[in-house]
Every structure is written in structure tokens, then in C-alpha cells.
């Protein structure tokens, strides 16, 4: 079985990314390429810290809007563009923490932004792994992708999904099984 793993950036990938950044700086409509490249990384960087999809989506939106608005100030210094996005994300998370604390003082479970601002290589590997999984889900056959989204994101029952897809419950369970098998094979052994 071929094992596909999220790869580390090579210098040639870095150079390609540099070109994408320069292109977007001179023509912001080309920011879409950077967005496609880094959307999943930024989202999973955030969701791993805020542990709530809705908040993570809001903050991801904030990060990309800020990145687009401030793209002209970005200077290429050899570090990946995503590091800049993570920095914006860290600030957005810290802001979110502060806002949450305004309402609920002394919440012991609240996020500590100073503790979360620095990321270990293990955490970055986890972000890459989740981003890779997200891209694999996008590439699933349409009906399997729908089952995965409706079952795990929208948390619908098998019965409900079967009605929505006009399929039997047994067929939906089979689609769920096949989708997870495919993802498992493509992820290899490297997942939590």
C-alpha cells in the first residue's frame, strides 16, 4: 500500500510560494491561490486551539481578511508564508480569549493565549495531518463526501442521511465504511 504523508516544504516549494505571494501583492485577485494552499492549515491551527467549529470558522475568516488587507506589508524573508498566517491567527485567538473573558471572568477552562501562541513541531505535524485529511475528503467520490460531511460535521443520523440521499440505511452505512477505509488508506498509519 502506498503511504501518502503530508510532506515538508522543499526549497523549490518555498520558491514557488514566494512567486505566489509576489503575484498576489501585485494583483490581489491572485490571493485565491494562497488561500487554497493554506486554508486548511489555518483552519486546523485555529480549531486545535479553540475546540469549537463555529469560533474556528469566524477566526479563520478574520485571519484571511486581515492577511489580504495587509498583504502589501508582508516581506519575504525565507520563512513560509503560512508562518505569517499563523501569527495573525495567534493574535486573533488571543483576542477571542480576551473577548470571552470579558463576559466570563475567571473561566479556568478558557484558553491561555500566551501558552498557545507558540507551537511545537508535534502540533504543527498534527495541523498538517488534519489539513491533509481535509484535502482527501474533498477528493472523495461525491456521494461518499456527502455522507462524511452529513454524518461527522452535521452529525445527522444514518436514517436522516438515507432519506436525504434517497438510499437505504444499509447503503449509507456501506458508503460511510468505504469512505473511512479510503481515507484511512490514504492517510497511512499516521493519525491519532
Amino acid at each position: 500500500m502506498a503511504v501518502r504523508r503530508p510532506g515538508r516544504k522543499t526549497s523549490s516549494q518555498g520558491a514557488d510560494e514566494h512567486l505566489l505571494v509576489e503575484a498576489a501583492q501585485s494583483n490581489p485577485s491572485k490571493f485565491a491561490a494562497l488561500y487554497e494552499l493554506h486554508f486548511a492549515r489555518v483552519y486546523f491551527f485555529i480549531v486545535s486551539r479553540v475546540h469549537d467549529r463555529s469560533t474556528a470558522e469566524d477566526l479563520t475568516s478574520e485571519v484571511f481578511h486581515k492577511a489580504l488587507a495587509n498583504l502589501s506589508t508582508y516581506e519575504w524573508r525565507g520563512t513560509p508564508f503560512v508562518a505569517w498566517l499563523f501569527r495573525i491567527a495567534s493574535n486573533a485567538i488571543a483576542d477571542q480569549y480576551k473577548r470571552a473573558n470579558r463576559e466570563q471572568r475567571g473561566d479556568d477552562n478558557a484558553l491561555d493565549p500566551s501558552a498557545e501562541a507558540n507551537s511545537t513541531s508535534k502540533e504543527m505535524e498534527s495541523v498538517e495531518r488534519h489539513a491533509f485529511l481535509f484535502r482527501l475528503v474533498e477528493k472523495l467520490p461525491e456521494v461518499q463526501r456527502r455522507v462524511v460531511c452529513e454524518r461527522f460535521i452535521e452529525e445527522r443520523s444514518i436514517k436522516e442521511i438515507a432519506q436525504r440521499l434517497s438510499k437505504t440505511e444499509g447503503a449509507v452505512k456501506q458508503l460511510q465504511f468505504r469512505a473511512l477505509q479510503t481515507l484511512r488508506e490514504q492517510m497511512g498509519e499516521r493519525h491519532d
Binding site: P28, S29, A32, E57, I88, S90, R102, K173, Q174
Partner: protein, 332 residues
């Protein structure tokens, strides 16, 4: 249990994991158990439409910006050098003493002073950190107002102590217990203005940086300010935080690269009516947009002798905006 077909085993286990609260896991074969390891990661996925919607939103913003850029021949540098995009404009009784206070309390540097013949001040600027405060003596056209300002300094305790020595009245000394998470204190100056003196903790300034001086508006019906300011001044709201009954507990507003904060006036936090000086790429266009959106015209666009295209509006929430576009040194 393990004699059930794998798809059935998997679904029983998935149902247990997705239950609220999760139910005990039924037994499953080893191959099915391996698939379950993916479930937690899949539950964290963003909604499928979210990525597409955000992309569309970003593209719309990009095309709007390009259209705006193409439609204007205004200079790229629309503000004066060494001047932030936004500055609070204080109109006080006794502006010379107010300058003394800003210098002593906040380590300010007086940059410009334009006096009237009687010694009162028509216009002055005091730099504080990376920001600027503008001020003048109140007059019939622009009467005195009490404003609130958020001040980010390297050492809130030190600055707070200096402010008290300079004549400020303590509200509370800087504390780590402030809900913002910053070290934060509050004082009132002898002119009736409120200063939130803060030092950021655990904060890494991002590419957008932050201002030492940030206007803080306490408004009535602040939730209505947000759609207004977005329509009138092309603002963008980030970090909106509302109470369950819809009141704005805190929101950050960005306009043309400038940042200010708003919340709902309540209790001891009195409504503020502020004067703000805002540099924008095209004063004429923004003035027209704001008036169309419901702002009241105080002074239509004109070319000021100090090399700026200027206009003044008042919004329905009581803030007066001095809009300006710097025309370059040759316009003086």
C-alpha cells in the same frame, strides 16, 4: 458483536462516539477500530460550504478594492508622514494645560502648536508612542466633549503613576485581573477624559501592528453603529462580541487601516461623543458615501490650506469625523 458486518460495526461505534454525551463504545474488530481513529478528526472539519463562502467573500473584497483603485487617481499616500490613520481630536477648556498633562503623564512630545492671539490653542499635536493626539481649545462650533481613549504602553503601572502625579484622578490601578487579559488600569484626567492604560500580555504584534493610542467609543445602541459604519465609512468589524440580549460588549472596527473600539454605554460607563480625525484615500468619495448612508454633513469637502482635502460629518451616534486626504507637500 464482532460477527456483525464491518459497516454495521463501524456505524454502531460511530453512533456511540457522536452521541451527546458519548455512549460506551461497543466492541469492534481491529480493522474497524482503526477507522474510528479518524472520527474525531472528521468531526473537526469545517462545514463544506464555509471554505467556498469565505473564498467568494475574499474575491468580492478584492474586486471591490480593484474597482475602487481603478476609479480613483488619488495619491497612494493619503496621510501625512509620522501620522497614524486615525487620531482622537480633543477639544478642551485650557488646551495649553492639557498639552502639559499629555507630556507629563504619557511621555508625550509636543509637535505642533498653533495659538490664537490670546494664547488659547487653535490646533496642536502631541505624539505618544507610535500615535498622535490632536487637540485645541473648545469653541462654539466644536464644544468640549469628554472622550475615552485606550492607551497601550510598555509599562501600565509606570504610566498610571505618572498620570496621577500629573493630576489624573485614579479610577483603579493597573491589575492583571482585567477581563481583557491585559494589565489594565483606568484614570480620569483633569479635563474630564477617561484613559484606559494598558500593557498587552502574551500578545505578539502581527503584521498590522497596533497603535499606542486607540479611540474607544461608548455608544448607545452600539449594535446599530456596526452596520452604519460599515456602510458609511467602508469599515470592517472584527472581534464582535455581544451579550445574549444583543448588546455590543466589545467590537474592534477597522477603517482604512485605522482601528478603534466600541461598546455599549452602560452604568458608570457613560456614553461618549468623540471627535476623530481619520485619513482616508478619497475624502470626497467617502463623504458622499457617508452622507448617503445617513451621516449628517457638517462641512462638505474642501481643500484646506495645509494641504489636505477635508470634510466633516457627524454620525447618528454622536461621533464627529474629520475626514482628510493628504494631498502631498506640493499642495501646501
Amino acid at each position: 458483536m464482532t460477527k456483525r458486518p464491518p459497516a454495521e460495526q463501524l456505524d454502531l461505534a460511530v453512533s456511540a462516539l457522536l452521541a451527546h454525551p458519548p455512549r460506551p463504545m461497543p466492541g469492534a474488530s481491529r480493522s474497524v477500530a482503526k477507522l474510528l481513529a479518524l472520527v474525531r478528526a472528521l468531526r473537526d472539519l469545517p462545514r463544506p460550504e464555509f471554505k467556498a463562502h469565505l473564498k467568494t467573500d475574499l474575491q468580492r473584497r478584492t474586486s471591490m478594492n480593484q474597482a475602487s483603485t481603478a476609479a480613483t487617481t488619488k495619491p497612494v499616500q493619503f496621510r501625512r508622514e509620522s501620522f497614524p490613520n486615525i487620531a482622537p481630536y480633543f477639544l478642551v477648556n485650557g488646551a495649553p494645560k492639557f498639552i502639559d498633562f499629555l507630556v507629563a503623564a504619557f511621555n508625550g512630545t509636543e509637535r505642533i502648536r498653533v495659538p490664537h492671539p490670546d494664547g488659547s490653542i487653535m490646533h496642536a499635536e502631541v505624539a505618544i508612542g507610535n500615535s498622535v493626539i490632536e487637540l485645541g481649545d473648545a469653541n462654539d462650533e466644536y464644544p468640549r466633549r469628554f472622550m475615552s481613549t485606550h492607551l497601550y504602553v510598555p509599562d501600565a503601572d509606570d504610566t498610571y503613576a505618572n498620570a496621577l502625579v500629573a493630576g489624573a484622578t485614579p479610577v483603579y490601578a493597573p491589575t492583571d485581573d482585567h477581563p481583557s487579559g491585559d494589565r489594565w488600569g483606568e484614570a480620569k484626567d483633569p479635563f474630564g477624559n477617561t484613559w484606559y492604560i494598558a500593557t498587552r500580555k502574551g500578545w505578539i504584534p502581527g503584521p498590522e501592528g497596533f497603535l499606542t493610542v486607540q479611540p474607544y467609543l461608548h455608544l448607545r445602541d452600539a449594535h446599530n453603529m456596526i452596520p452604519f459604519i460599515e456602510a458609511a465609512l467602508g469599515a470592517r468589524t472584527t472581534g464582535l462580541h455581544k451579550s445574549p440580549d444583543g448588546k455590543v460588549l466589545h467590537a474592534t472596527i477597522e477603517i482604512a487601516g485605522a482601528t478603534l473600539e466600541i461598546d455599549e454605554a452602560h452604568g458608570e460607563v457613560q456614553r461618549t461623543q468623540s471627535y476623530l480625525h481619520l485619513y482616508v484615500p478619497d475624502t470626497d468619495a467617502l463623504y458622499a458615501q457617508a452622507v448617503t448612508a445617513g451621516a449628517k454633513s457638517v462641512k462638505p469637502p474642501y481643500t484646506a490650506p495645509y494641504g489636505e482635502r477635508s470634510a466633516t460629518i457627524t454620525d447618528p451616534f454622536g461621533t464627529t469625523w474629520f475626514l482628510a486626504t493628504y494631498l502631498g507637500p506640493e499642495a501646501h
